[in-house]
Assembly symmetry: C2
Homo-oligomer: 773 residues x 2
């Protein structure tokens, strides 16, 4: 895959486009990082897989720089992986040595010091100065340099993060505009004006039994006004916009990936040859041991005795250091025996000549690989795990995941119980009664946040453990399954309290006179008025919940885990796998898209977070962590599926937030079907049902009502028949009418947005034209 000698130019479009792009380039020049051009914006070398036979094709000026840094380290890693250390077991490369605790780690060294004096320049220092500092947060990322230094996988990750961050800019702008629109129209919002009007004396039913009094709706005026900020028609537009934005983002990522793949010569690569993981091999060996009274006895025995020999440890302290690429092997101070001598000595003689030779070998091997593996496959048919062997692992996985999800749900439920009981307890005491709900809500959200943060870490470890139990065959499968499990658990963890508030809270309250009780006389919690929910729509509470969890999670995880923990890691010398890095951002992508209808400022916060996150991650990779092995990948793998899954799910979730949680549909229905003059005047009155207080159950009346007038009817928020109707307190016709409208909105919204997404998907070609030409 290195580059040949012929170059050609990428066309830059016609006259106007050319001038425009030139102007753009000039304008953005202060934003460009000052790194030496890799000259691949305009010119592209023709590439061809390196082959020693065709050495004449390549423009080799200097042997030491022909393969770049990441490639060299990958080659050395490959050699280490393949070097056989014993006759019997042909997979005893460096990975097995590490897995068997003979070596502790093997990783490439950094180029040099990133904070060395000015005159001696290296890529690491360049990366630090132009990328891995907060001071350069406004600059584009030097993606090519990152790729050159860290390899394709990390390059792709930062390219993804960069694109995501830049896509957040327009959505932040529009989110702020939507928010400002809410601020600007707050005075014109008729329902909140009506609620605040002291003359409209809506006497509301008490919010708890006995100790709560009747109350006047105008006392919830402030929160009603605040809720208009997030619950106005602009948010409907915004959530359609964000659904399309998600599609656009994914489409553009496909294009960027294609473009990077083209410039980085990833288009033609086959999947990396997949070695079995050492854990898998061990498992297979164990299985064969068990079956030793079957036909394969002989072969197995030779295998096992030899491998038994190998594993006896031996006293060694020296580290192996390969100067060709600066690869360090950290030897554990343990006792090992002779067989590895041969292995190590062979590791030590690798030079550039070997690298060329090796690449040639690899290609030949690649060509006949299929053949060889198939032959092996025929030879030892029992050498793999069948479904029967895997069943306990799968069962364990399934059960554990179910258990974890149940745990999450029960914690959410526990917090609900906490809220209900604490609220009840506090309202008995006169001194604390006044600010019961503020206290309860605030403490509950904080409990939620803390639980989410703790479980997040636990679930990460559990997912890892579960995937190990599963014993996937290859490194790639391992990673995919780990990501999927960890994402599933963390997603449920982060979002279940939010889903509860969005769709369930306050919907099982019952009605005055027949409330729903849980645990012996605790009323189900109402959508609380302290957070401005009940009379002004439930959206406000969702918004608060969402913003606290999102901001809290980001701030704490960034500060404590991401800044604090890496130091510990460096001290404790544990390496962090780069493949898990996107997880935080993907959960955040969910916050940005799934509930954007209720919180238009989410993109802004995500943007601010990401600007920091990019530099933070960069700093971590450049200054704090061991340099990771350069890994070659074509794409971001399963992350893309997860992202597009979130994108699709967000359409449904936003449809329901607008239809069910917000007051958008009831207002529309009122305006066009019930209002006498086509305005929202009278809307508040329309949404409140009547209740005859004489029908309150014995012992639930307010104990000593200090309400200044005689109360005959109190009001509550629901569409029910009045007490004087033939069937009092049944759902009224309006209820079913509004429900039909809500559901119709969900259907229309979902299908419309899905259709538009498909259209956007179809209109944006996956392959940029300048490459496909």
């Amino acid at each position: 895959m290195p580059t040949g000698s012929k170059t050609y130019e990428i066309k830059a479009g016609g006259g106007i486009a050319k001038r425009f792009s030139a102007a753009l380039q000039k304008l953005s020049s202060p934003l460009q990082p000052r790194v030496p051009e890799h000259s691949n914006n305009k010119m592209k070398n023709l590439s061809y897989p390196f082959s020693r036979e065709k050495m004449y094709l390549y423009n080799i000026q200097e042997k030491d720089t022909f393969f770049d840094n990441a490639t060299r380290s990958r080659i050395v890693h490959e050699i280490l992986k393949r070097t056989a250390c014993s006759r019997a077991n042909n997979t005893m490369g460096i990975n097995s040595l590490i897995a068997n605790n003979i070596y502790e780690a093997a990783y490439p060294l950094h180029d040099g010091e990133y904070n060395s004096p000015e005159d001696d320049m290296n890529d690491r220092k360049l990366l630090y100065q132009e990328w891995a500092r907060y001071g350069v947060f406004y600059k584009f990322q030097p993606i090519d340099l990152i790729r050159k230094y860290f390899g394709e996988k990390i390059g792709l990750y930062f390219a993804w993060l960069g694109l995501y961050t830049s896509f957040l800019i327009p959505s932040s702008v529009i989110g702020v505009i939507v928010f400002l629109y809410g601020c600007a129209t707050i005075e014109e919002d008729i329902p909140s004006r009506e609620m605040c009007d002291q003359q409209n004396a809506f006497i509301m039913c008490p919010l708890c039994d006995k100790s709560c009094d009747y109350w006047n709706l105008s006392s919830a005026c402030g929160t009603a006004r605040a809720s208009h900020l997030f619950d106005n028609p602009a948010t409907v537009f915004f959530s359609i916009f964000m659904a399309l934005w998600a599609t656009m983002f994914l489409e553009n990522w496909k294009r960027l990936q294609m473009r990077l793949g083209y410039f980085w010569d990833l288009t033609g690569i086959e999947e990396e040859e997949e070695h079995s993981r050492p854990e898998y091999e061990t498992k297979v060996r164990e299985k064969m041991l068990k079956e030793s009274n079957k036909s394969a006895v002989q072969k197995l025995q030779t295998n096992t005795t030899e491998s038994g020999n190998e594993h006896r440890p031996e006293e060694r302290n020296s580290g192996v250091y390969l100067r060709a690429t600066g690869k360090a092997l950290v030897r554990k101070s343990r006792q090992n025996e002779a067989p590895f001598e041969r292995c190590e000595s062979s590791l030590e003689v690798i030079s550039f000549g070997d690298i060329l030779q090796f690449r040639e070998d690899t290609e030949l091997k690649g060509m006949w690989k299929r053949n060889v593996t198939e032959m092996q496959g025929v030879e030892d048919d029992e050498d793999k795990l069948t479904w029967k062997d895997r069943f306990p692992g799968y069962l364990m996985n399934f059960a554990s995941i179910l258990f974890m999800i149940a745990l999450t749900f029960s914690i959410v439920f526990g917090v609900i119980v906490y809220r209900i009981t604490t609220a009840a307890a506090l309202s008995l005491n006169k001194a604390t009664r006044s600010n019961v709900r503020v206290t309860v809500t605030a403490t509950a959200v904080i409990i939620n946040l803390v639980v989410i943060l703790i479980l997040d870490e636990i679930y990460g470890a559990v997912a890892n453990w579960l995937t190990k139990i599963e014993v996937p065959k290859t490194e790639q499968t391992f990673e995919e399954r780990l990501i999927l499990k960890a994402f599933l658990l963390k997603f449920v963890n982060a979002y279940s309290p939010i889903f509860y508030v969005a769709f369930f809270k306050g919907r099982f309250v019952g009605r005055p006179g027949s409330y729903v009780y849980v645990f012996d006389g605790y009323r189900m919690e109402e959508a609380s008025t302290a957070t401005g929910c009940a009379p002004g729509g439930c959206l406000m509470e969702l918004c608060i919940q969402l913003s606290i969890i999102m901001l809290g999670k980001q701030l704490i995880q960034n500060n404590i885990f991401e800044i604090g923990v890496p130091y510990m890691i460096t001290v404790g010398r544990v390496s962090v796998s780069p493949s898990h890095a996107p997880r935080v951002s993907v959960i955040q992508f969910g916050f940005v898209t799934l509930f954007v209808a209720s919180f238009p400022l989410a993109p802004v916060f995500a943007l601010l977070n990401n600007v920091i996150e990019v530099r933070l991650d960069a700093k971590k990779f450049v200054t704090e962590l061991r340099r990771p092995d350069a890994v070659r990948t074509k794409d971001i793998g399963i992350w893309f599926d997860i992202l597009s899954g979130i994108g699709k799910f967000s359409v449904i979730s936003n449809a329901f937030v607008i239809a069910i949680t917000s007051d958008f549909i009831p207002r529309l229905v009122y305006q066009y079907s019930y209002s006498h003059n086509g305005t929202l005047h009278g809307f508040v009155n329309h949404t409140l049902s009547f209740f005859n207080v004489s029908q309150l159950k014995e012992g639930t009346q307010p104990e000593n009502s200090q309400f200044d007038q005689e109360v005959q009817f109190c009001r509550f928020k629901d569409y029910r028949e009045p007490p004087w109707a033939p069937n009092p307190y049944e759902f009224s016709k309006q209820y079913w009418f509004v429900l039909s409208a809500r559901l119709a909105f969900v259907i229309i919204f979902q299908n419309l947005v899905m259709f538009l997404s498909v259209l956007v998907d179809w209109m944006i070609p996956d392959i940029p034209t300048d490459i496909s030409d």
Copy 2:
């Protein structure tokens, strides 16, 4: 891509699986076509692109059979395409010669006679005996032989058709079971029993003004019973099944395609080098002519003068015949000039040696292709059509498609008007009054069918013409756009009357006392009772419409167009492009999936049709048509996207058919919310609203009612408030309740089935395990 000498075995799973598959093979042996095994079920040759340099890799036993028939014809076609016939214009291959009417056609010859005497065997005859006859309809298709003879593209088409047909078998069986379930439970269906009960005297409002009388609901008893056959809970299950079936089918097709691609060595192939279409080149040349006062003048002039010379025709009558592969070039009897002599003579000397040489060339060219094309790209930047040049074509396309769709809709509307007016006219006459609706419905469906058949042909031609106007650059783009346009037009054409019946008919009737009138006093047509719609649910009429159009379309298109027309084509010597073959089946796939909820027998009819269709198409290709050029493709291209689009759309359409068209939801709602004893007793009464006949508008009362009792209230099917309610004839609470239930069902059904489809998609790996190992 030919095969090398090494072979390896495909593993066939473990012990039980092996024995099972062996038994299966034995059982199905009478179904297997008796063609020589290509031995690729178990053994797979290792493949490598053919390269003359590495001749030692291949197991060349005989020069004449090393490349198979399709490959040879492809190679010759490639040579003909590339042979330059003049110095100036390097694209003057055989395609341009045909486009400029110098040759009439170029196609490979068939192997021999398919009905020659027994002893002389060839592939064509083998295909005829084992595949292209109705007598062998029960056998599997010899896909490998088809591919060998006709090339990959046609092979894939028949593989697709075969898989589709075999997938129709289980769905036919279940469809028949669902239908039989309907037959079996017809006696237990309470609503239809209630309707037929003479004692329940529901006096219905007249169906037309003046001339129609009141009528008794029990007179529609027969149709109500018939409609139960298609409108029962089993159809809900069946439509979920069919949605998953569609996903399963597409997943299995992906697998089969992957498997065929593996055995046919299509996995590694790059996209075919894409030559510009001659029409595109001509257009570019024209454009350059226009711009002749710009910088490129000189080059252009040389170009145009030379090409001007070339196009002068010349008298020639001889055909060119290449014995190496039996490729015929049909010379038009027109006057051509000298420059082509050189071209033809070079065409005539092609032999096997050339073919090898040629393939080697192609590979080298492939390697440097990118380079060369890019170089050219830089050289003459104006040599392509910009968006500005294409704009008129696109506009024309857009306008025409809109016009065609509008035309379709207006024809559907015209048929509606025909029904309304004819019904009104006929009911004035006493003699014809009795069977008005039968006459009208029958004639209208036939008109619809005829219009669909005619427009189908017209739209095919229009799509072709429109795509030509667009001047796509390559053959592939041309085909894709043509398919997309033709499919869109034909889809709208075939389905718009059905959509009308399913979702719109009878929904804008108004109510007694305030009917909706169109055109000066014609009442909007009601969902007609003659077809058993109004009182028994609208599903019956949809079912009739669907079956007549589907069956009629299949029968007539198969018999007239597919059997009749090919003879005309053979006589008229026009070649048929194989790429359009799937279109008929895809439209049929739509019939099978889109409205399966209303017509569970659709898969059976589709199955019967396809069994014939496979052999019919086969016969056409083997015996009647010129042998088409062997085309290599990896997949069925845009057809897959269309099929999966239909699959997705079918989920929504079935959800709506069940929710809106059928009586499923109202029955459920009645049973669980209104019924006193949890049964459907009283359902019919519940769905009928009351109308006070004294409120009938002046002049619309039945003229001379012969109804034997005094009528005070008549009934009509709707959920409206009774005349004695405070707001008579408004939609009642039940209406909104049922509507909410219907819409909720749509949401649940759609999301559930979509989720299950994703699950199925995810559970079935795209690559079969025996290949990926």
